[in-house]
């Protein structure tokens, strides 16, 4: 007994829950057999029990691809995913059920992620039913409780997904992901479809679950204030690569990568007088093609500080300050 509980404690505190090593994913591209979309390139990070890693970056930079490789909706082209020390990179789909119990995902697009032919109650109950270890009474009760925790009422239970507003659908997706009380939840833009008050409710809810159950989150979002608020560490991606990673709030006060700096400058400020004067700030230029990524640093085509070296030599992710990594030649 005793040894077991100490083991559990040790597990909670420091053993990594999720280890991602050199994760890479290439999609086949149109127009030629050998052309590929370099969607995710050699991404590595570690997430401990009960912690939150925020992931931000340009639209199309590979955040969803990363999450989808981790939950094995996609099979990574290279690299490894370890969950609780177990290598799950190549487990066959039919043996993924116990893995799903530990790891769930909230999908980015609340419109297509939910089955249109199922009622809200059935959508949320589905993961419970798949595990086959709950009675129908238990299931009903758990579904009801979870829906009320995400701010939906009994009245919504019999509705179909298309009868809900965007934000209501997103909360159904969150309820579904949390109902098994997994150890890890990959949240792909869980709040962008919600109004700010419900965003705050959902964030408080995610934090409560984290404190109660020691959940860990991979939190993908565009709202940098929210990401800062929820995350213990934050990673920034650009064109499939991790370009900056920082434990603690350093990333916001001392961004090292020029892309991160541009991103922070683009944040809209919720004050009309300031916002109007600030419209010229932020990054400009077009994103390069993920089919033919630029040589050297992939950001050099838009970087205001790019030097000759940046155009030929890819920078490596290195620890520039304690707990703060970046991939830029100038740091």
């Amino acid at each position: 007994m005793r040894s077991e509980s100490t083991r559990a404690n040790a597990k909670e505190s420091d053993a990594p829950l999720l280890q991602v090593r050199g994760l890479t994913h290439h999609f086949p591209a149109r127009g030629g057999r050998h052309r590929i979309v370099h969607a995710l390139e050699n991404v590595s990070f570690t997430l401990t029990h009960g912690r939150t890693l925020g992931l931000v970056g340009e639209s199309g930079c590979g955040k969803s691809t990363c999450a989808r490789c981790i939950v094995r909706i996609l099979n990574p082209s290279a690299g490894q995913v370890l969950l609780d020390g177990q290598d799950i990179t190549h487990i066959p789909q039919k043996r993924l059920l116990p893995v799903r119990r530990k790891m769930q995902m909230v999908f980015q697009d609340p419109y297509t992620a939910l089955n249109a032919r199922m009622t809200v109650r059935d959508i949320v109950a589905e993961p419970l039913r798949a595990q086959r270890s709950y009675s129908s009474g238990e299931t009903r009760e758990m579904v009801g409780e979870m829906l009320s925790r995400v701010g939906l009422t009994r009245e919504h239970e019999n509705r179909y997904a298309h009868e809900l507003s965007g934000g209501q659908r997103q909360r159904v997706g969150i309820a579904r992901a949390l109902i098994l009380k997994p150890a890890l939840v990959l949240c792909d833009e869980p709040i962008s479809a919600l109004d700010v008050s419900i965003q705050a409710q959902v964030i408080n809810l995610l934090r409560d679950f984290q404190q109660e159950l020691g959940l860990a989150y991979l939190f993908i979002a565009h709202d940098l204030s929210m990401v800062r608020y929820v995350s213990d560490s934050v990673g920034v991606m650009y064109m499939g690569e991790l370009v900056e990673l920082s434990d603690g709030g350093d990333l916001y006060t001392r961004p090292l990568h020029p892309y991160t700096q541009g991103l922070l400058e683009s944040i809209p400020i919720p004050n009309p007088r300031v916002a109007r004067e600030n419209t010229a700030r932020g990054l400009t230029g077009d994103i390069a093609s993920p089919i033919d990524p630029p040589p050297g640093c992939r950001f050099h085509t838009r970087c205001p500080r790019a030097a000759a070296r940046c155009k030929s030599e890819p920078p490596l992710l290195k620890e520039a300050a304690p707990g703060h990594w970046t991939a830029c030649h100038l740091v």
Partner: protein
């Protein structure tokens, strides 16, 4: 004195200032297995030429349904129960369907909240934009249409438009699909753009570029924009005026500056305080408005916000508050503006002179 008067005159542009879009007292319901859902219960708002109206509000408050009603694109279960919608002086609700289609393509464009379900999964995206152009500019040659398509995709920041022309929607990231929608909406140079959460799937830097693009079209072509968003930062950057919806009603209508300076409705105030700032202390819990929105299949007879409102009194629960209008044009639907409201613990009464309640409610 005269100068001031003149200024006032110019900015108000009397006569030439008939709004582009006027929605008056719109009521829309859905009829489902669970009964009638009163999604929109009397919404009035206007969008002027060259103006960007921000539409914010609780999720499920009827923002999308209001504009889908105006474009007559409601789901089959939805029905407009009452009200009036005028666009460039024409009655949209009673227009023949054929005419409505023309207006929809050529004069009004909408960027939908759900990009994936509004793109056809079986058709390459370039082809979809091309078809959109074909429908509206029949005199273009195939070559011209393709060039124009590529130009539009590039303008909407799709990298390498030429190569991506033949890609299918599922091969695009969430944000890229949204940008395709933007390209399609701008294809026909509309007079009115209804943008329903057009940038939610975009990162802040692309968002910033798209917002600038919409803004430049707005000022170059005098396009009117109705911008539905949850992001108050985006509202601050884009909009001159804001309508705040809750429970299928407009709760507050104000110039953006005024709204951020001092909300006049308890719900708006709740929204503004829910938002974390960039330097929010991580150990402090966020303070959302407690409780949940009303059940629209049995809408409350009183103020829909009453169960969650810190200022609610008996009358709020039993009777619908009228919309009060202040001398400067600001409007707020809340009993606290009534001259019968108590002065004690009431931050909203008499701060801006006397407010006039609308007649409909009297």
């Amino acid at each position: 004195m005269t100068m001031q008067y003149k200024n006032y005159d110019v900015s108000h542009n009397p006569g030439g200032d008939e709004p582009l879009l006027t929605i008056r007292n719109l009521r829309t319901s859905f009829f489902t297995g669970a009964g009638e859902i009163a999604a929109v219960r009397g919404v009035s708002l206007t969008v002027r030429r060259g103006e960007c109206l921000g539409v914010v509000g609780e999720s499920g408050s009827g923002k999308s349904v209001t504009f889908l009603s105006a474009l007559r694109l409601l789901a089959p279960a939805g029905r407009v129960m009452g009200g009036e919608i005028r666009f460039q002086g024409r009655d949209l609700l009673n227009m023949r369907l054929k005419e409505m289609r023309e207006v929809r393509g050529a004069r009004i464009a909408m960027i939908f909240q759900d990009p994936l379900s509004s793109l056809n999964p079986l058709i390459p995206i370039g082809k979809q934009v091309d078809e959109m152009l074909w429908a509206h500019e029949k005199n273009l040659t195939a070559r011209q249409r393709k060039d124009k398509t590529l130009e539009l995709l590039t303008k909407a920041h799709i990298p390498e438009a030429e190569r991506r022309y033949g890609s299918y929607p599922h091969e695009f990231s969430g944000g890229m699909r949204q940008r395709v929608m933007i390209a399609m909406a701008l294809a026909c140079k509309p007079d009115l753009l209804v943008a329903d959460e057009p940038t939610t799937a975009l990162d802040v830097s692309i968002q910033n570029q798209i917002l600038r693009l919409i803004k430049s079209l707005q000022s170059e072509m005098g396009m009117g924009v109705a911008f539905i968003t949850h992001d108050l930062g985006v509202i601050a950057q884009m909009c001159t005026r804001v309508s705040v919806l809750y429970g299928g009603l407009v709760m507050e209508d104000a110039a953006a500056d005024d709204l951020f300076d001092r909300p006049l409705h308890p719900y708006t105030e709740g929204l503004l305080t829910s938002m974390p700032s960039l330097m929010q202390d991580r150990s402090i819990r966020l303070s959302p408005i407690p409780g949940s929105p009303p059940d629209m299949s049995a809408p409350p007879s009183g103020c829909p916000f009453a169960p969650r409102c810190a200022h609610a009194r008996n009358i709020c629960v039993s009777q619908m508050p009228p919309t009060y209008t202040y001398a400067d044009g600001r409007q707020s639907r809340c009993w606290l503006h009534s001259h019968d409201a108590p002065a004690f613990d009431n931050p909203y009464r008499d701060i801006r002179g006397t407010a006039v309640p609308d007649e409909e409610a009297l």
